[in-house]
Each structure stands twice: as C-alpha cells, then as structure tokens.
Amino acid sequence: MKEIEEVLKDLSKKDTIIPQQIEHRIDYTLKTKQKNEINYKIRKLLTSTITIILVLLGTSGLVYGLTTAYEYFTQKTAVSNYSYDYKEDMEYMNRFYYKKITNFNDYLKYKENMSNLIEMTEEDFKDNFLLIIISTSPYMPGIYVSNIETDDKILYVEIDRDNENESQKEILSVKISNTLDRDEIHVDRAKKIPKSDGYVPLEELPKDYSKEQAVLDNCVVIYNSEVISDNKFRIEQFVENTKNNKEDFIRIVRVQDKIDYSMSIFDIQYIENEYRVYLDQTRCNNEKVQDYIYNTYSNMEISSYNMNVKLNQIELSNEFKENLCVGFYF
C-alpha cells in the first residue's frame, strides 16, 4: 500500500485543470489591469486635490467640509467599483444585489453615489418606493426588469438582459408603486423555458422516469460517464449546429449510481443566440439539489481530457461567469 506521504507527492505532480471560468477572469483582469490602475490613480489624485482645497477653506467650514469630501470620495469610488464596495449595504439574492429605498433622504444619499438613478421627488416617495439592483457580474450587459408580480408576502422582480443595449447599464433603479410593496422581495432572472416539437415538459415526466425510458424517448443518456443511447453523435451535432447559429434542441439525461443515485435532465435549447437551459434535478438522492434550475448561457463547449482514456466534458458558460457542467462521457 502507498503511504499517504507518497500519495500526496504523486497527486501534487499532476497537472491542475483550472476551470474556464477562472481562466477567463484571470485573462480579463490582466487585460484591464492598467485601466484599473489608472482609475485608482485618478481617484487618489482627486482625493488629494479635494483635501488640499478643503484645507484652504475657513475653520468654520473645515470639519463639515472634510466629512463631506470623505463621503464623496468613498461613495464616488464605490460607483466605479460597486462590486466591491456596495455589497455590504445591499441584500443579496440569485447573483443580484438589491436595495429597497423608501424615503427621500436615503434616495439622496444613494443618488450621490449612483449618478444614473431614476429621478424621484420627495412627493414620489409618498406613493412609491425605489428598488436598486446591481448584478454581481463585472461583464454584465444591459439589464432591465421584464416583469413584476406579487403574492401576499413576496414581490417578485424578474430581471432580463438586453443584449442589444450597448449602454451596458451597471445599476438598475426601478420606481415601484407602494401597492406592490410586500414584506419580502425576490429578485431573479426571467425564465424562458425551452420548447420544441413533441416536447414533454420536465414537470410532466413521471417521478419514476428511468434511463431506459429516456433512451426510448430519444434523449441522449449518459450513464456513469458512458453514453448508453445510440445518439451520441447528437451531442457534437448540437454544438456544431449552434456554433453555426442554427436553432436546435437537445435533452440530455445524466444518470449516475456508483456513489449515490442521481438523475439530472438537461433541456438545452439554442435560440436567439443563447442557450436556454432548464435542469431537472428532482430525481437526485441528494436533497440539497432536488430542484428545477433555469439559466441562460452564451457558450457551449466539449472539452477533451486525456486521463487514462479520452474523457469529454460538456460545459456551458456565460458572461455572468457561470459555468454549468452537463456531464462527462468517454
């Protein structure tokens, strides 16, 4: 038997596979590092200038002036670096930060920091409140509220992306009537569930849906990293079609039972230049993941790794830095 020492040494010699998401972020950081540094220097210069100006002010205004300048600076910094500084002040949900503002004074405070907030008056706050939403992603293209719904307790705010919006709004502010005000706010991405001819919605599949039935239903079935359906070619065909901007749909069923039983069903539709993925994990033994998950992605890749044999990985990714591993197959 190998000693733990030997095992650790052996394993440490293996090459590490850095996830694509991390690689992208490192590349992005290296490409933009100079811009970041220039911004930092400008801010530093601004602070120094403001401080010098304030020192020149009369004694009576000095304390007040310094306080204001300090606030202005930190808050101003937060505008260009909101992803680092504003997190502490806002609620977090589903990769969005949000803040509900119910009075004019708070609004003014935030407006100093976020110059592009929607215009509101003191009068407006009698019948409305303001919701500020920031995506956690530094690559966020334009976002907008696509729908607002309520039940007795929760205000549901659906956020969608506007791919054609070149202005790339970083901060979204929404004036909402008090009649829609609820105890809780739920912010999430708008769901566009995939559909195709003869499509049976995931929710309508029987609870005891089996891999054998999935094969009969023409799904691509990956069982313990082996494709057991005779349509393995569909995986590469789907990726190729979508790379050529051709609309396509695939249902991949991933079953594994070596460690613990789990069945994950991926409906992937490529439409309007994006991959809409609806994932059913309700048949997994792990209670923590038993859910339906919806997301959209901009890229789908099949990567090959040479382990003992060639292993392929199907992975989706998007500009939100989110990756979804659909599965591995030999």
């Binding site: 850095i18 991390i22 950081t29 290296l30 070596k258």
Partner: protein, 172 residues
Amino acid sequence: MEELVKKAKEDDEAFDELINSIKSDLYCIARTRLNDMDDIADAIQDTILTCYKNIRKLKNDKVFKPWLIKILISKCNNIYNKKKKYNISIEENEMDKYIEVEDNLEKIDFEMFIKNLSPDEQTILTLYYYSGYTTKEIGHIMRKNENTIKTKIRRAKDKLRQEYGGELYERN
C-alpha cells in the same frame, strides 16, 4: 522567477507572463479557502490587481511568490468573513459536480483528495506538497510558528489516513 519578477515591475507583458506562470498555485490555494467559483475568481482578481499596484514596492524579488500567496489568503479570508457576517450561504463545493467521474482514485486530483480537511490544513498541505514550500516558509506565509505548521501537517496526514485507510491505494 526572480528575473521575471524584475521584468514584471517595468513591463506589462512580463507581468502577465509572471501571473500566468503561477496561476495554478493561486487557484489551488484559493480552492482550499473558498468553495464558490465566483468567490475564488474574485479573490484571484483582487490579488492580481493588488499585486499590479504594489509590485514595484517589493524590494526583495525572491519573496514575490510567498508575498503574493499572503495577499491571496488575506483576500480569501475577507471574502469568507464577509459572507459569514452577512449570512450569505457559503455554497456547496462546486467541484462536487465533477465527483461522478472521480469515482476511482486513479482519477482523483490533489485538491479533491484533501477537500475534507479544514481550510488551514488544506492550504498548508497545498503549499507544502503542491507549491513545494518548507515548513518554515509556510509559517512565514501563514503567520504561524514553524512547529505549528509541522503539527498541522502531521495531523492532516493522520486524518487522511483515517479517511482513506490506505486501502484504496494498492501498489501497481
């Protein structure tokens, strides 16, 4: 490495090369402290920017890598503590999704092998076995006594022995 650090102080391309040469280490170490991929990316991004901002101030080029790892660990701890403070769920280990192909130990990798240890133990083993630092250097990086590091390595190995029992590691 020292030559590259020297160049990186003056030249952006050399800086990129320097970061690319140690990105595996950065990723492996960040993985020992954080589970969420976004958090890991944030920590590495912050570390690179801090490094870029301050590399010219570094007097001794020899200590570049330990210096950078110190920054990284500090960034990771900040993110972890902030999430904890604001009660944001610290997500399940995202690498768990890769587990299904790692169902035999021929395919397992270093970070997966040690993932059940405490964050400190994982970082120390990573620095010791993966990055090749001595216990003294690790003590310096982690601001801990060298003997504490030695004890932690011994305990971590004991835990691994208990966990894996050695049974899965038959000699070829």
